[in-house]
């Protein structure tokens, strides 16, 4: 490297800002009094000293649980016993609940509803008979059940328009995109209520008769209040009447493709059970979580049957409309009474019993382990 000094270009070096800053941070050695006196003035103003509190020094009083056998063994035992207690209670309660299930899909040739499984048999009815040997205590809940029916299928689940269902007629004309392809019919008429859920509404109906001396005595079925109170009273709303007519509110719309009649004719006898507030409709719209499910159809709470179904023979007339054969689905009816824990459920009681016993066993195992490994030197 070779260079020649340039002519008088002398520079006093200017220290950039960063340099000066860096220098400022330099800790000067302890030194003369003058420096000190300067700094004395700052005394008390700023100090870097951290706060000496329990929190900042991580000295907060702490509970440090140590899993010692003295706590664990009684703990396990207690939990075990408590669980066994609960389990016994649950199991016994579950045993008191009566359940009557009848499959009426009609797959077997000899089943009463076989004839209805043949496609294109409109208004097919079939009759299922059953006998009760003892009183079926009331109040009885009457369910219909479907299996292999995926109401939880994602695209199916989203296929409805909440705004329609709150009775907002604005959305009657332009159903939500989620309803696709059940938003418009082939002639571009909007469907109300739109969507796959509404379209696939369960439409079998049932009539229950007690056969007394060969004559059929109809058991009154209570269809009120089978849906959620909030659904009926808050969430779903019918559209406002137009010119005093409910049907006119639906002007310009068409019924869902699969429905035999429009929404405003779901229950002509009771306006409060009509339209979107129809209880069956509400029950259907609340999608079930699992592919094998049942939904409440009616309750038996009235008349002679308020105390339950007395022993005897019964006949259930099914208006068979809903096709399930295509996807190997099953249909059934379920009669059940309920307890505080809901319907019959043996699983939970047994599970509690098993887990409880396991805990007790664990505590014994623990005791053995503890005795073997710990007693020798734990007392020091």
């Amino acid at each position: 490297m070779r260079f020649v000094g340039r002519t008088s270009h002398v520079c006093d070096v200017y220290y950039g800002r960063s340099i000066r800053k860096a220098e400022k941070l330099i800790q000067v050695r302890p030194c003369g009094e003058r420096d000190r006196s300067n700094r004395m003035k700052n005394e008390g103003e700023t100090t870097e000293r951290p706060d000496n509190t329990a929190f900042t020094q991580q000295r907060l009083p702490a509970w440090q649980p140590i899993l010692s056998a003295g706590i664990i063994i009684p703990g396990f035992l207690l939990i075990g016993l408590a669980f066994i207690g609960i389990g016994v209670g649950l199991f016994l309660t579950s045993q008191t609940i009566q359940v009557l299930e009848r499959d009426y899909t009609g797959i077997a040739k000899d089943s009463p509803c076989f004839s209805c499984t043949i496609p294109n048999t409109p208004n097919c009815t079939c009759e299922i008979t059953f006998a009760l040997s003892e009183l079926f205590k009331g109040p009885i809940f009457f369910y219909y059940g479907l299996s292999n029916y995926y109401q939880n299928f994602r695209k199916y689940g989203v296929s409805k328009d909440y705004n329609q269902l709150t009775g907002d007629t604005q959305y009657f004309k332009s159903p939500d995109n989620f309803c696709f392809p059940f938003d418009y019919d082939s002639k571009k008429n909007p469907i109300v209520p739109c969507g796959a859920i509404a379209n696939s509404m369960f439409n079998d109906t049932f009539e229950l008769y007690q056969i007394i001396n060969g004559t059929k005595k109809q058991v009154p079925l209570d269809g009120k209040g089978i849906s959620w109170w909030t659904d009926y009273n808050l969430k779903y709303r019918n559209p406002v009447l137009v010119d005093g007519s409910f049907a006119k509110a639906f002007n310009g719309t068409v019924k869902p493709i699969n429905w035999p009649k429009p929404a405003y004719e779901l229950d002509l006898t009771d306006q409060n059970n009509n339209g979107f507030l129809n209880q069956d409709f509400l029950v259907w719209m609340r999608r079930s979580a699992l592919p094998d499910f049942r939904k409440l159809y009616r309750r038996i709470t009235e008349g002679d049957y308020s105390g339950g179904l007395p022993a005897g023979n019964y006949s259930l007339t099914v208006h068979y409309n809903y096709p399930v054969m295509s996807f190997d689905g099953k249909k059934k009816v379920v009669f059940s009474n309920v307890s505080w824990m809901g319907g019959k459920n043996d699983f939970l009681g047994i599970a509690y019993l098993v887990v409880g016993s396991l805990c007790v066993v664990m505590s014994v195992v623990m005791l053995i382990v503890y005795a073997k490994f710990k007693f020798s030197d734990d007392d020091v």
Binding site: V10, C11, Y14, E33, Q57, F327
Partner: protein, 1159 residues
């Protein structure tokens, strides 16, 4: 001529630059002019090599124009110099004048960028290297982005999560396809397109794959990264808040400059430390001397040092009482300031008080001139001896000895004005200092002169600092002396005070090295004060106040080969030519006249002196003192003339100048008469040996890398217990030949292997990383810079690393900054270990950046190291707490948190996955989307973060008393691949339980989709929170609040949300579901059962592990429950076990057969 201010970045090669006193040099400048009449410029290189002394630079010969301003116009020569390189000690080149005359110059004419000009009003020169080409920049390898070990590991685990996600999505996609295939005709719940056509099942499956990714993406813990950042912020908050890492003297806390590697502090396996300023105070203190065979112990001086360094608190207190003082104002102040707040802190206060006292004694704002160094209490016996010789003969070995001490050096006497100027420059830039020390000092002053007028607290009198400046130091001095000597009043009378007062006022020394400063102050203590030094004269004031003005004939400067320096002077009275020499003992002893060399002419006296001195020297070395021998030689006029001619010739030579100069020096330096020797202490910082031992016990290998010479380094290594006289087998490597180096390496390695395999030595294997340790002899390795670079060359590096693995301690001396970093890199890469580098100077910057964790020690010298570091502390001893306590905490906290986070996400997401089997793999979620988002965001986010910040497995005191606990982190026991998979498996199990117990409970019932999801969500929350509760080791108020708060938040938010949201958020619509569920007793039964079943295995495992195979940490936790007395005993027992058989815990894991009982 016009001077222009320019920015550093605008300085170019070839520019003329003028730098004023106390300014930082902007580029490498060839010195052409200084204001000094002798053409000398002093610069402080602390920023560069960490040495605080001043270095002298000379104007290029022939360009010095004393007294005249610099005239750049007249400069018309050509400068030729070597290419830019990173060697700070070598620089060659010449100036060619227009008339072709060439003048050589070397490193002693180069002002280095980054250094500070001191003591010189202005210096000017031509820039030879600028910017990136400067030597300091070439030594700076630039920053490295650091990523913590856990994070690196975590990233691969995230990949595993992605793989898992991929498989889950694949299952979803295949499942969906197959499910669709089962239908011959499509059921009413499968939605067709407008024309009634259905997507082909394969295509639907393909789409489903991506839908699944969206549904299950929580599997990839993106939130983990955010949480880690938060956790680290919290951890850093607590580290910086630690009052025990606070330095009262400098008023600074520990600084965390890197925010992302806190947990690496808990995994360190190798510690690389700088020596000067890091292990030591970088303050040399005169301790002892031996003169013509008589040893003077300087007990009083030792006692003073012990007091000043605060070795014993009680002792100090007694001393105060003896000086009949009322409570010092400072003490009161301190008490009110700190003492009342917390009992636990009193210890800290006490320790700080010592320090403040040390600091308070600072009396002269010079390099190496705290009272520690300047104040030497003379030995009484020696004083008497000196007085006797003074009185009688005015010559003699004692006087010669002290004259040698006083003049045989390169110390510059600086004027008071220069000193003040420097003060000014500093006080401006100085931000902080120790207030406490200030008060303390005032207090002690008042005790001596209780009527002192200027003592006031407010700034009024302080505004007149000069008055005090002159008075105070010596008052302190005298009071200090009377304190420490307790009754032996050496200097306590009024007259004495005045005398010493006037004396110190006059001189302030600028020493090249701290040793020289210590020596010259020692001489001063005996009355031999050097009052003036010019290139041609040295003036010394004798104890009887007479002045001796020596003519300096030549100075043979120190170099590392000769390891001695000499000064040749003419005695003013006798006119004799005398050479005084000082140097390393070996360098002097071998050149004594006729003592050992010629046995026929046995000079009995001289021989005896030599033998005795050697004995004393050995003793000094054992005590870790730096030793220097002093000798004298009287040269005849003739001999000198002949030699001087050769010398002049050598000086003017250009080729091989160095060698020739050395030859001439060696020629004259012989036939010495031994005068004596001194022992100087480079005072270790407080608690350095303890810290090193603690780090060792924690399984860390400690290396010391220093630029210092081997002798000093080894001394320090012994005194800081890095090496041990009894236990360590020390191999020293120092050679200039590669073949020798190779041979030595092979030999040593063979020897080490043999001894490690011999049946006599008990060998403990400690995993692959740390090699093994010999029980009988551990191996220490001392290696110097040149040898190191040979050892690190490609063909020898494997052997070297292998050898290093066997060494308990390695000491590298004379290494350059770049070598430091390459050593660190080598070890880090070859051994795949976590490294930490600690240093305080700019010379450590590379090393700090190369290591996994870089720690800067702030304080004595500049901020370069701190700027480059990840953490900055003020004392070496803080390292112990930083690593053993905070490092350990941070590591175990973060490791646990990361594991937990993986678990949490998988456990929750799998719920959705299991549901896919019951919804036709259609990616339906049974939980409301908002609740799902909030679940991660709100309900379960705070507990793990708090867990990561605040959990405390073992208390700090236990961690400090049992450094062995640190090994967990070193071996990454907190977070391994196995831990990860166990967590994942547990997550799978728990999610299965959380899904299937509700499933079996509700199957076949009329439950709605979100009514089904709600208990699962709740159960999941309980499981996840309680899982953490099992993991939490200590519960403070904060823990309780956050844990209970999270559960409450879940219920409140969910209830509120499902009450308000009548028809919002389609399609999920949670309206009133939670309320309905909570009114159902089944909900609670399901929740209880599921939670218990989900957590039972983990809980049982914890319990069984605690009983059957307790970890060291569990043992430590149990210790904490014991009463203090029993705890002490147990800790001792524990340690006893650990010492005899190294780390049974570790061995039991890696080698199942363990001869040692587990504690």
């Amino acid at each position: 001529m016009r001077l222009v201010k320019r920015r550093w970045k605008d300085v170019r090669v070839g520019d003329f630059v003028r730098v004023l006193s106390n300014q930082i040099i902007p580029a490498d400048i060839l010195l052409l002019h200084t204001s000094d009449p002798n053409g000398v410029c002093h610069m402080e290189t602390a920023n560069l090599d960490g040495e605080t002394n001043l270095k002298q630079r000379r104007v290029v010969p022939g360009f010095s124009t004393p007294g005249k301003p610099f005239q750049p116009q007249t400069f018309s020569s050509t400068v030729v110099c070597e290419n830019p390189n990173n060697n700070l000690n070598v620089f060659k080149g010449y100036v060619e004048r227009p008339d072709k005359r060439r003048t050589g110059f070397g490193i002693d004419s180069l002002l280095l960028r980054g250094c500070t000009v001191r003591n010189t009003d202005d210096a000017a020169g031509i820039v030879v290297y600028a910017g990136q080409e400067t030597k300091s920049m070439l030594n700076n390898s630039g920053p490295r982005y650091k990523r913590s070990k856990i994070e690196r590991k975590m990233n691969t685990d995230v990949l595993f999560c992605m793989l898992l996600l991929f498989f889950m999505c694949l299952i979803g996609a295949l499942g969906h396809s197959i499910w669709l295939e089962t239908f011959t005709t499509m059921p009413s719940y499968i939605v067709p397109d407008r024309n009634g056509n259905y997507t082909p099942s394969v295509l639907a499956g393909f789409y489903m794959f991506f839908t699944m990714i969206i549904l299950l993406q929580v599997m990839i813990p993106v939130s983990l990264y955010v949480s880690i950042e938060l956790v680290k912020m919290g951890q850093i908050f607590f580290i910086t808040q630690d009052v025990e890492l606070y330095d009262e003297e400098l008023d600074s806390r520990v600084q965390c400059r890197a925010l992302n590697i806190t947990e690496d502090l808990g995994q360190i396996q190798y510690v690389f430390s700088d020596k000067t300023g890091t292990l030591t105070e970088n303050k040399m203190v005169f301790r002892r001397c031996t003169i013509v065979g008589t040893e003077y112990r300087h007990d009083e001086n030792a006692a003073r040092l012990a007091v000043v360094s605060g070795a014993n608190e009680e002792e100090e207190d007694t001393l105060y009482q003896q000086t009949k003082l009322p409570k010092l104002p400072l003490e009161e102040l301190q008490d009110s300031h700190t003492g009342d707040k917390n009992h636990a802190n009193t210890q800290v206060t006490a320790a700080n008080r010592h320090r403040s006292r040390v600091a308070a004694g600072a009396q002269c704002d010079m390099a190496f001139s705290t009272p520690l160094e300047t104040v030497v209490v003379p030995d009484r016996k020696l004083t008497l001896e000196v007085d006797r010789q003074m009185a009688s003969i005015l010559s003699g070995p004692y006087l010669d000895f002290f004259l040698a001490l006083a003049i045989c050096n390169t110390v510059v006497v600086s004027t008071v004005t220069a000193q003040r100027q420097r003060d000014k420059g500093r006080s401006n830039s100085d931000g902080s200092f120790h207030i406490m020390g200030q008060w303390f000092r005032k207090g002690s002053l008042r005790n001596v002169f209780s009527s002192m007028k200027f003592f006031k607290r407010d700034g009024e009198t302080l505004a007149d600092p000069f008055a005090k400046d002159e008075d105070e130091p010596d008052m302190f001095h005298s009071s200090d002396v009377s304190d420490s000597t307790t009754g032996q009043k050496v200097l306590s009378s009024e007259g004495e005070v005045k005398r010493s007062l006037s004396r110190t006022e006059e001189v302030c020394y600028e020493a090249h090295s701290p040793d020289e400063a210590a020596l010259i102050h020692a001489a001063k203590a005996y009355g031999f004060t050097m009052v003036e030094r010019t290139p041609y004269h040295v003036t010394v004031k004798l104890p009887d106040d007479t002045l001796l003005k020596f003519e300096v004939l030549d100075v043979l400067t120190f170099d590392s080969t000769r390891r001695r320096m000499s000064i040749i002077v003419r005695h003013p009275h006798t006119n004799e030519i005398i050479m005084y020499t000082k140097g390393a003992d070996s360098a002097i002893m071998e050149r004594l006249g006729n003592v050992f060399s010629d046995m026929s002419q046995v000079d009995n006296v001289a021989k005896q002196i030599a033998v005795k001195t050697q004995k004393d020297l050995d003793m000094y070395a054992r005590d870790g003192l730096r030793t220097l021998c002093f000798a004298k030689k009287v040269i005849s006029e003739k001999e000198f003339k002949a030699w001087f001619a050769i010398r002049q010739e050598a000086l003017s030579a250009i080729d091989e100048k160095e060698e020739r100069l050395m030859d001439t020096a060696t020629n004259i330096e012989n036939n010495f008469t031994l005068l004596g020797a001194t022992g100087i202490e480079d005072r270790l910082q407080e608690n350095v040996p303890e810290t090193i031992q603690a780090l060792r016990r924690a399984g860390m290998q400690v290396w010391v890398l220093t630029g210092d010479k081997p002798e000093t380094a080894i001394n320090i290594a012994y005194s800081c217990k890095l090496l041990d006289h009894e236990q360590d087998l020390v191999f020293t490597f120092s050679t200039n030949r590669k073949s020798v180096c190779k041979m030595r390496l092979e030999d040593t390695l063979g020897e080490v292997r043999r001894s490690s395999l011999s049946p006599g030595a008990e060998v403990q294997f400690r995993g692959n990383n740390s090699g093994f340790t010999l029980m009988e002899h551990s191996i220490g390795l001392v290696i110097d810079g040149p040898t190191l670079s040979m050892a690190m060359s490609d063909d020898l590096v494997e052997q070297f690393v292998e050898l290093c693995k066997h060494c308990r301690a390695v000491l590298c001396c004379r290494v350059t900054p770049l070598q430091k970093s390459s050593v660190v890199k080598l070890i880090r890469q070859k051994l795949r270990v976590m490294t930490l580098a600690i240093g305080d100077g700019a010379n450590d910057v590379n090393m700090i950046q190369a290591a996994d964790v870089g720690i800067g020690v702030s304080g004595q010298e500049g901020m370069q190291a701190v700027m480059a570091s990840d953490f900055a502390i003020t004392r070496f001893k803080h390292l112990q707490r930083l690593l053993l306590v905070h490092g350990h905490w941070c590591y175990s906290r973060l490791a646990n948190m990361v594991i937990y986070f993986f678990y949490k996400n998988v456990a929750y997401v799998n719920l959705l996955f299991w549901y896919q089997f019951y919804c036709g793999f259609s990616a339906t979620a049974m939980i409301d989307y908002w609740l799902m988002i909030l679940f991660n965001l709100l309900f379960t986010s705070a507990p793990p973060i708090m867990f990561g910040i605040m959990d405390r497995e073992v208390s700090d005191s236990t961690l400090l008393s049992l450094p062995e606990l640190y090994k967990t982190g070193q071996h990454s026991e907190g977070y391994r691949r196995s831990t990860f998979w166990i967590a994942i498996l547990d997550a799978f199990y728990q999610s299965l339980v959380c899904f299937f117990i509700p499933y079996w409970t509700y199957n076949g019932s009329d439950i709605g989709i979100f009514s089904f999801g709600t208990p699962m969500n709740t159960v999941s929350l309980f499981t996840i929170i309680l899982h953490l509760a099992i993991e939490i080791k200590s519960w403070t108020v904060v823990h309780w609040v956050i844990m209970i708060g999270s559960v409450l938040a879940y219920f409140i938010v969910t209830l509120a949300y499902s009450a308000i949201c009548t028809s919002c958020n389609p399609p999920s619509n949670p309206y009133w579901i939670m309320h309905k569920q909570m009114a159902d007793p089944m909900f609670y039964l399901v929740c209880t059962l599921t939670t218990v079943v989900a957590l039972l295995p983990r809980y049982t495992l914890h319990v069984l592990r605690g009983t059957l195979a307790p970890s060291p940490h569990l043992g430590a936790r149990q210790l904490e429950r014991l009463p203090p007395s029993r705890r002490e005993q147990r800790i001792r027992e524990w340690r006893g076990l650990r010492d005899t058989c190294i780390s049974p815990s570790l061995r039991s894991q890696e080698h199942s057969s363990s001869p040692c009982p587990t504690a």
